[in-house]
Amino acid sequence: MTDIRLVNNKTIVVKVDTSIYDNWVIDKVLYWWSQDYTITRKNSSKGIQTIFLSPKRTNNTISLETIKERLSTDFIDYKNRHTIFKETSNLRDILFAKAFANCDDFIEFKFKE
């Protein structure tokens, strides 16, 4: 992230450098925030994505500092998850293929139309 700020005392505006955190990471982080916030995203120039988080409920009392801390750790954790995923997905495929390679003796059923 390059910046987090509160606009109009309500909307949280987050700027993310997409060369550090790509869309995979941003999607996964925002998924868990989408219960409490309406989220809009906009790609601006120079690889920066601007994210607007507007609280769905008016009684949302989480402080900006807490939100900053949570978002920062979420981005770092999901980037690590993404690295693990990228580096191990082929191996995971091999593992599943080996584990279930002998399960290809399927019965052919005739289904009704």
């Binding site: 998924y31 925030w33 750790t73 995923f85 593992l95 599943f96 080996k98 289904f111 009704k112």
Partner: protein, 469 residues
């Protein structure tokens, strides 16, 4: 230099819980994953040895033990080999109790039109034998199935006759409130090794409150004793359901189980079906339930420390998934989901449903998970269009919110629950109450394994192996 192997992690206060598809786990200080991913772990560190031993990192791009890893993964999913082994027969919707949380939408015992026909029963048994499973469980449910004991008898006798050539191993289970079980019927049950599963909600005042009958506790406990006398102590188990009222009495409920001669309890939350679906605030209920669960578990652990062997079954199921590579056969904690893969329901009206919860929805005229009728072809029911549609969303490995979760292989996918609570079978994990409940309970178990390992691990291992200390 080391290579990463597939794993997931979850932050638990100042710790990180690492898990993988093989059934290994490791609890490490916060920040360790960042060090692991950025290759900051030295080969001399103890952590490196733990990571290597737990299949979280390897020293080669393709680990030398990949065959071993694949075998462990296949073992973890071996419940799929047998396909559907639990066959639930809802013989009637009529019941002789009046439970405030009834999830089965039961009807008065004098009502008519709610019993399964003999023809449908036979057709359902025929379908059961088309399952490839060597081990079949034929479970009779209701309403109260002993109200139609004639149907239970004919179902068992027909299955026994077919089994002369099928040669399967069959377990018969009757889910009964035990309020009225005749000597003659018990004598029949003893011939076929029938097992009873009953409900006991705790001490007398609480059980009677939940059942809506003043004499329920006395009748149920005497029924339990009667079953024990004829069939044996190990032939009856009990389940409790945690009503809103029950949440106030964690210790009293455990004590009531002990007083009634049980050596285990399954702390079970309410499900949003039947009468229970009218609950106004499920989020608050599940948070209170988790608090109740923790208090009860603490009390049970204290009992065990003082030499009383007493097991909490839900914790044991989760522990088995955490510390062993073996599947547990509990349909709510399976991925791919237990619906169809593990369980099927033949309803009193001859309709076939993907799970017990699916048929409960049908009582509210919602037939989303109805697969067809008992007279339909096996392949159209079990592998048909509806089953195929469900199969796209029944694995935690491939649905949003679960696919990166460290508890992915401990928890389970439940499209029926998603549909009931969120109106969408795919579900939305951030607001899912079952996701929240399971996450908090598994967090708690990992916290115990992390902070009180010396004290709780010997007890937990006894629970898993079923051995007394």
């Amino acid at each position: 230099m080391y290579y990463l192997l597939p794993f997931h992690f979850r932050v638990l206060q100042d710790k990180e819980v690492l898990t993988n598809d093989l059934g290994d786990y490791l609890i490490v200080p916060r920040g360790s994953v960042d060090r692991i991913v950025n290759r900051k772990i030295s080969e001399e560190e103890d952590l490196f040895k733990d990571l290597l031993g737990g299949f979280f990192v390897g020293t080669q791009p393709i680990p030398r033990l990949i065959e071993n890893m694949a075998t462990r993964l296949a073992t973890r999913k071996s419940f799929l080999d047998d396909f559907t082994s639990l066959h639930i027969f809802v013989l009637t919707l009529r019941c002789n109790q009046n439970c405030i949380y009834c999830q089965a939408s039961s009807h008065d015992r004098r009502d008519s039109g709610y019993d399964m026909s003999e023809d449908d029963l036979r057709a359902a048994v025929d379908l059961m034998f088309q399952s490839p499973s060597k081990h079949l469980t034929m479970e009779f449910q209701g309403g109260e199935p002993t109200l139609v004991s004639k149907l239970i008898r004919s179902g068992i006798l027909y299955a026994e006759k077919k089994n002369l050539t099928e040669k399967r191993s069959i377990t018969y289970v009757i889910c009964s409130n035990c309020v009225y079980v005749s000597d003659d019927f018990l004598s029949f049950c003893s011939k076929f090794n029938v097992v009873f599963s009953t409900s006991l909600d705790g001490p007398e005042f609480l059980h009677n409150h939940n059942r809506g009958k003043v004499s329920s506790y006395k009748r149920v406990t005497s029924g339990i004793q009667k079953v024990r006398n004829v069939l044996g102590n190990d032939k009856i188990s009990a389940l409790m359901t945690t009503s809103e009222e029950s949440l106030k009495y964690p210790k009293e409920i455990v004590d009531a189980y002990l007083e009634n001669g049980f050596r285990s309890i399954f702390l079970r939350a309410l499900n949003p079906y039947g009468l229970a679906r009218t609950n106004e605030n499920w989020l608050a209920y599940y948070d209170s339930f988790v608090h109740f669960y923790k208090e009860s578990l603490d009390y049970i652990l204290e009992l065990n420390k003082n030499g009383v062997f007493f097991v909490e079954e839900f914790t044991t199921l989760i522990l088995k998934k955490i510390v062993t590579p073996f599947p547990i056969g509990f349909v709510d904690l399976q991925t791919p989901s237990g619906i169809i893969n593990g369980v099927i329901v033949y309803n009193y009206d001859g309709k076939v449903y993907a799970s017990d919860e699916s048929r409960m929805l049908a009582e509210y005229k919602d037939y989303t998970f109805c697969l067809g009728r008992v007279t339909d072809k096996y392949e159209d029911l079990f592998y048909g269009e509806r089953a195929q549609k469900l199969s796209r969303i029944w694995s935690t490995e491939c649905i949003a919110g679960c696919s990166e979760c460290a508890y992915q292989s401990i928890c389970g996918a439940d499209p029926v629950r998603n549909y009931t609570t969120q109106g969408d079978s795919y579900g939305f994990r951030p607001s899912s109450t079952i996701c929240r409940k399971n996450r908090l309970i598994i967090d708690h178990i990992f916290s115990l394994l992390s902070s009180r390992a010396e004290e709780v691990l010997p007890i937990f291992l006894n629970w898993i192996t079923g051995t007394r200390a």
